[in-house]
């Protein structure tokens, strides 16, 4: 069974440039999460999807961040424009849904903003 796939694995951009991250969850998982993990810290939830619907985006900085999950499968997270403080690892996870189910994480995208 294929795991959660993320691309790119690494991205270096200059501040004020746009950047996008892509995630393909495990087949059959209807819940998808995007997290940001700063160095030495735990993952922080940015947005959670149940199928196509964003059910929790309270921590998403909506002035510069956007996300979509078309057809309830793949998802894209975008930052425009990027700031120096956006440097972090962006993690995607998926689960069957419901609070009791474990999340399966992708390898993450390490973003460096210079």
């Amino acid at each position: 069974e294929a795991g959660v796939v993320q691309s790119p694995r690494y991205k270096i951009i200059e501040k004020k440039q746009p950047v996008a991250f892509w995630c393909n969850p495990i087949s059959g998982h209807n819940t998808l999460y995007w997290y940001r993990q700063n160095l030495g810290q735990g993952p922080e939830l940015l947005i959670r999807y149940e199928n196509e619907e964003a059910v929790d985006d309270s921590q998403l900085p909506k002035d510069r961040f956007s996300a979509e999950r078309l057809k309830g499968v793949d998802s894209t997270l975008k930052i425009q424009p990027a700031e120096l403080g956006d440097s972090a690892v962006y993690l995607c996870a998926s689960s069957f849904g419901g609070r009791a189910y474990e999340q399966y994480f992708g390898p993450g995208t390490r973003l460096t903003v210079t």
Binding site: G3, V4, Y33, G40, Q41, G42, P43, E44, L45, R48, D56, L91, A93, R99, A100, E102, Q103, F105, G106, P107, G108
Partner: protein, 110 residues
């Protein structure tokens, strides 16, 4: 609001010694509890989880955790660690939403 506290940011321990990584949480609703591990340059993976029933939960790689409702704790333990257990360990709570703790870096020394 929910929160998760991991009191020890770093725990060094010698190989074959026992270890306990502490986790406390606060929540106004009932919660499910998880421990995840992140090995160097790898993604997060589940060690174990508590949903209901027995308060002692066994996970992979010889780890176990005990849920204590009165103390709102979910400490992780292993009776004898190996070099390969060197990693970052995260406690997580799923109640109103999913919240991770800041992590504990376990370093197993030869």
């Amino acid at each position: 609001a929910q929160s998760v506290t991991q009191l020890d940011s770093q725990v060094p321990v010698f190989e074959e010694a026992p270890v306990e990584l502490r986790c406390n949480y606060s929540s106004s609703v009932s919660v499910y509890l998880f421990w995840y591990v992140q090995y160097p340059n790898q993604g997060l993976q589940l060690l174990l989880k508590y949903l209901s029933g027995s308060t002692l939960v066994k996970g992979i790689n010889g780890f176990e955790a005990e849920f204590n409702k009165s103390q709102t704790s979910f400490h992780l333990r292993k009776p004898s660690v190996h070099i390969s257990d060197t990693a970052e360990y995260f406690c997580a709570v799923n109640g109103q939403n999913f919240v991770f703790g800041p992590g504990t870096r376990l370093s197993v020394l030869p």
